[in-house]
C-alpha cells in the first residue's frame, strides 16, 4: 500500500477493515486520507452502516414490507444511465 493511496485503494481498506483488524500502517494511511477526503469519509460511514444493517436484517428477520419496495427499486444497472 502506497503512503498516498487513491480513493479506490482506500475503499478496499475500508472493506478489509470490516473483516480483519488493520495493521498500524494501514490504519495510519487511512486516518490521514479520511481527514482530507469527504467522499471517502462518507463511503466509510456507508459501508459500516450497510454492514450493521445486514447483521440486523439477518438477526431480526424481514422488513415486513420488503416487497412493497421491490417495484420501486429499479434494476441496478439503471443507475449508470
Amino acid at each position: 500500500m502506497k503512503l498516498m493511496p487513491s480513493c479506490e485503494e482506500v475503499s478496499r481498506l475500508l472493506s478489509k477493515a470490516l473483516d480483519e483488524p488493520l495493521g498500524l500502517l494501514d490504519r495510519g494511511i487511512l486516518q490521514v486520507h479520511l481527514s482530507m477526503c469527504g467522499s471517502c469519509r462518507n463511503v466509510d460511514a456507508q459501508l459500516r452502516e450497510l454492514h450493521g444493517m445486514a447483521q440486523d436484517l439477518f438477526a431480526a428477520g424481514p422488513a415486513d414490507d420488503a416487497h412493497a419496495h421491490r417495484a420501486r427499486a429499479s434494476h441496478r444497472s439503471a443507475r449508470r444511465e
Binding site: E8, S15, A45, Q46, P62, D65, H69, S74, R79
Partner: protein, 207 residues
C-alpha cells in the same frame, strides 16, 4: 397477519401450539428461508433439503419454544446453523466460477473511479433514518439490493455477513485465495452501496 402477530396470539392463547401455524404462514416462511438459502448455496437441492429440515424443526419445536424472538428470526437462525454445518463438513470443497454478471458489477465499480483512482463524482453523505419506520423501509431496499447481487459475489457476501465465516474459511471452502475473497467482498459492498445510493437515497426514500 405477520409471524410476530401469530406468535403473540399463540402465546397468549392456550390452544395447542403445533396447530397454530396456517399453511399460508408456513408457505411464506418457506419462501423467505429459500430466498436466504439460495443466496448462499449454489445447489438448489441442498437448499431445498436444509429449508425442509428447518421447517420440520420449527414445527416440532414450536410447542416448547420460549422467548420472544419472532418465528422468522428463530427459523432463520436454525437455517443459518444448518447451512454453516453443511459448509463446515470436512470434505466440503466447492469451486466458484465468476459469471458474466460478476464481471459486470466489477466494471460498474470501476466506473465509480476515474483513471487516477479518485471518485468520478463526489459521494454525498446519507442521512440517518430517524424513525423506526424509515429504517425498516431502508432495510427492505437493502434486502432487494442484496437479492440483486451477482450469484457468486452474493454467495461470498452471505457466507461472510450471514454465516459469519471469516475470509480464510470462505477461501478454503470455495477454492479462492484470500486476495480473491477480499476483492469479492469489496465488490459486493461497493455494489450494495451504489444500489442503495440509487434506490434509497436517490430513489425517493430520502427527499
Amino acid at each position: 397477519m405477520t409471524f410476530q402477530d401469530a406468535s403473540a396470539a399463540k402465546e397468549s392463547a392456550a390452544a395447542p401450539a403445533a396447530t397454530a401455524w396456517s399453511a399460508t404462514e408456513l408457505g411464506a416462511l418457506r419462501t423467505r428461508l429459500m430466498r436466504h438459502a439460495r443466496m448462499v448455496l449454489a445447489d438448489p437441492g441442498v437448499a431445498e433439503d436444509l429449508v425442509q429440515d428447518t421447517l420440520l424443526g420449527v414445527l416440532e419445536g414450536a410447542a416448547q419454544r420460549r422467548g420472544d424472538a419472532s418465528l422468522v428470526t428463530w427459523a432463520t437462525s436454525i437455517l443459518k446453523h444448518k447451512i454453516a454445518d453443511w459448509y463446515r463438513a470436512p470434505a466440503r470443497r466447492l469451486m466458484v466460477q465468476m459469471g458474466p454478471d460478476d464481471d459486470e458489477l466489477a466494471a460498474e465499480i470501476d466506473a465509480d473511479f476515474d483513471e487516477r483512482g479518485h471518485w468520478s463524482r463526489p459521494v454525498p453523505a446519507w442521512q440517518q433514518p430517524e424513525q423506526h419506520e424509515e429504517r425498516r423501509q431502508m432495510m427492505g431496499v437493502l434486502e432487494d439490493c442484496m437479492g440483486r447481487l451477482p450469484a457468486q459475489t452474493g454467495r461470498v457476501f452471505f457466507m461472510r455477513e450471514w454465516l459469519g465465516f471469516d475470509n480464510s474459511e470462505i477461501g478454503l471452502k470455495l477454492g479462492l485465495s484470500g486476495e480473491n475473497v477480499r476483492q469479492i467482498l469489496h465488490r459486493a459492498r461497493m455494489g450494495l452501496r451504489g444500489c442503495m445510493q440509487h434506490n434509497w437515497v436517490g430513489g425517493g426514500g430520502r427527499a
